[in-house]
């Protein structure tokens, strides 16, 4: 470490840059394989930049071939968007009440919310499955959306942000005769809008990447989301590795785009809440 101090910043930047490339090699390999004809995928030395390109044929086959990637995509978009919206509404309402409404039993209820935090999701999959069958929510997108929307995590995270609103803001409006509903919608919500965006992006990413819930709560092929779809595609199309890689790229790409756009929010949200999906 003594030496690194004197080493120019540039050298370390180059070293870290090389490390970063090594770190990303699996992604680069995936992308490159998805652009190649099948026989070139396992060629050695690895053709990082394909000699023969077969982009259109691969992706066309994945998207419009036997496996309905367009349907998987649509299902994932639908479930992720609706889960994010519902979760935003429910979590922000609860978070607001837990931070700025003085009602009886508030602390007790909040402790209960925190306690549900500790329950590992896999430990309650079976009863959730049973309840969904009784409520006729099994094998429906609605069920999947509900499972993703009621998380203690969202309440907890957004509460932190609502706590940041100074009481004086709300009290001033209260003196003017505003009720809690008005305070919530026209004062609190606009003030935490950036935080809501952060949470929305995180929730979208987590729902998009969710594999366990669709695996348990869906049966019908036409309802399957992208994570289930790509896994089936990989296990059923056997040796068509270039196609499988094109499918993997398709599953990751929307997230990379969202992450690039909302990069600052995601990083801040992760760092602030210190949260894990």
């Amino acid at each position: 470490m003594e030496k690194t101090n004197r080493m120019p910043k540039i050298t370390l930047t180059v070293v870290m840059f090389l490390l970063g490339i090594v770190f990303l090699l699996p992604f680069i390999w995936m992308l490159s394989a998805s652009f190649k004809p099948e026989i070139d995928v396992f060629k050695y030395p690895i053709e990082w930049i394909p000699k023969n390109w077969q982009v259109y044929k691969n992706y066309n086959e994945v998207w419009f071939g036997e496996h309905p990637f367009a349907t998987y995509y649509w299902n994932s978009i639908k479930v992720s968007v609706l889960t994010t919206l519902l979760s935003l509404v429910v979590s922000s309402m609860a978070a607001y009440a837990f931070s700025h409404v003085n009602f009886k039993g508030r602390n007790l209820l909040f402790v209960i919310v925190l306690m549900t935090f500790m329950i590992p999701t896999h430990a309650i999959l079976v009863p959730q499955f049973l309840i969904f069958r009784w409520l006729n929510l099994f094998d429906s997108h609605l069920g999947l959306i509900l499972v993703g929307s009621f998380s203690a995590l969202g309440t907890f995270m957004l509460r932190q942000f609502f706590m940041g609103i100074h009481k004086d803001y709300l009290d001033a409006a209260r003196i003017d005769g505003a009720g809690q509903y008005t305070l919530f919608t026209s004062i609190a919500i606009p003030l935490v809008r950036p935080a809501l965006a952060t949470y929305a992006i995180l929730r979208f990413i987590w729902t998009w990447n969710d594999y366990t819930n669709p695996l348990i709560f869906l049966r019908s092929r036409h309802l399957e989301t992208i994570q289930i779809g790509i896994q089936k595609f990989a296990s059923e199309s056997g040796v068509y590795y270039s196609l499988i890689m094109a499918g993997a790229v398709s599953a990751i790409l929307p997230l990379i785009i969202i992450f690039m756009v909302g990069q600052k929010q995601v990083m801040e949200g992760i760092a602030l809440g210190g949260v894990k999906g």
């Binding site: 870290m16 699996p26 309402m93 309650i124 009621f150 366990t212 990989a234 997230l255």
Partner: protein, 293 residues
């Protein structure tokens, strides 16, 4: 008073959707898991076929070689957490102070974390392919005559999974460490430099103790998350070869949904719950003792 009543009503209305959701989707299921773990039942059978068997499921667990293997694998997977944290801390310190394009590096190392674990698992299946996968081809090219079969090998499968988990998790720890490093006052380093402290002294005497709350937080959340790893096992190895990568969540899943032993699976769920609780309790008591602010 009317005001107070209004406030109460508003509060209940605001929290009721979340509370009802948590009640139906989390709290009641937890109670059901608890009850089911003392029964012998399959969910395809009628409710009146349910038989209470006391602690028999739990004694059976201890004699079940697949379960003990799965749990042992879970304990091995815990090793991923400290390794991941150490690498992340070193990277975070370097990126924070000693390189240009900080935010670019943050993005690079964060990429695996936001990518879907299913896609990642599928890519690594090909990378680790024993005969013509790029990793083994490269190893052969540099003279390793008989490279390991990775995911297909009884002894290499679990370490391979661990390697992937480290790769996936570094970004999360890194981003949190970077935020923690920002909070360390700069003048601490400046006065240390005046006293002639080198980089390693500064790291061990200033950085390391001051980020210890973060380290502790990452350790606890990491250990808990490690007990919950399921997706990667299911997609990457399906617990194989011969249960060498099976974990409790995966065995729970196959017991409940393939073998349809609802009661037995619930006892595993309760066991899992116990593990997470244990870590949480150790955290609550240990926090004051081990973290120096």
């Amino acid at each position: 008073m009317k005001k107070e009543k209004e406030e109460n009503l508003a509060g209940y209305l605001f929290v009721s959707p979340m509370m009802i959701g948590l009640l139906v989707l989390t709290i009641i299921p937890t109670i059901i898991t608890f009850i089911l773990s003392f029964t012998e039942w399959s969910f395809i059978a009628d409710l009146d076929r349910m038989k209470f068997v006391g602690f028999r499921n739990f004694t059976k667990l201890l004699d079940d070689p697949v379960f003990t293997t799965s749990f042992k694998n879970n304990l091995f997977l815990l090793l991923v957490v400290p390794v991941q944290i150490m690498i992340a801390l070193v990277f975070a310190v370097i990126i924070d102070k000693y390189v240009y394009f900080k935010s670019l590096f943050k993005i690079v190392f964060f990429m695996p974390y936001i990518s879907s674990i299913v896609a990642v698992a599928i890519v690594f299946q090909l990378l680790f392919q024993p005969s013509y996968g790029p990793i083994n081809q490269a190893l052969r090219a540099i003279g390793v005559a008989d490279p390991p079969k990775w995911l297909a090998d009884l002894h290499y499968a679990l370490p391979s999974v661990m390697l992937i988990l480290v790769w996936v998790g570094i970004g999360f720890c890194l981003v949190i460490y970077m935020a923690a490093l920002q909070a360390i006052p700069k003048d601490l380093y400046e006065s240390a430099e005046i006293d002639g402290a080198g980089a390693s002294t500064k790291f061990w005497r200033i950085t390391f103790p001051l980020v210890s709350p973060t380290t502790f937080f990452l350790l606890v959340t990491g250990l808990i998350a490690s007990f919950k790893s399921f997706d990667i096992i299911k997609v990457l190895t399906s617990g194989g070869p011969s249960y060498s990568t099976s974990v409790v969540t995966y065995y729970l899943y196959t017991t409940a949904f393939d073998n349809l032993k609802t009661g037995y699976a619930s006892s595993m769920a309760l066991f899992l719950f116990g593990c997470v609780m244990l870590i949480t309790i150790v955290q609550l008591y240990g926090q004051k003792k081990w973290v120096n602010y």
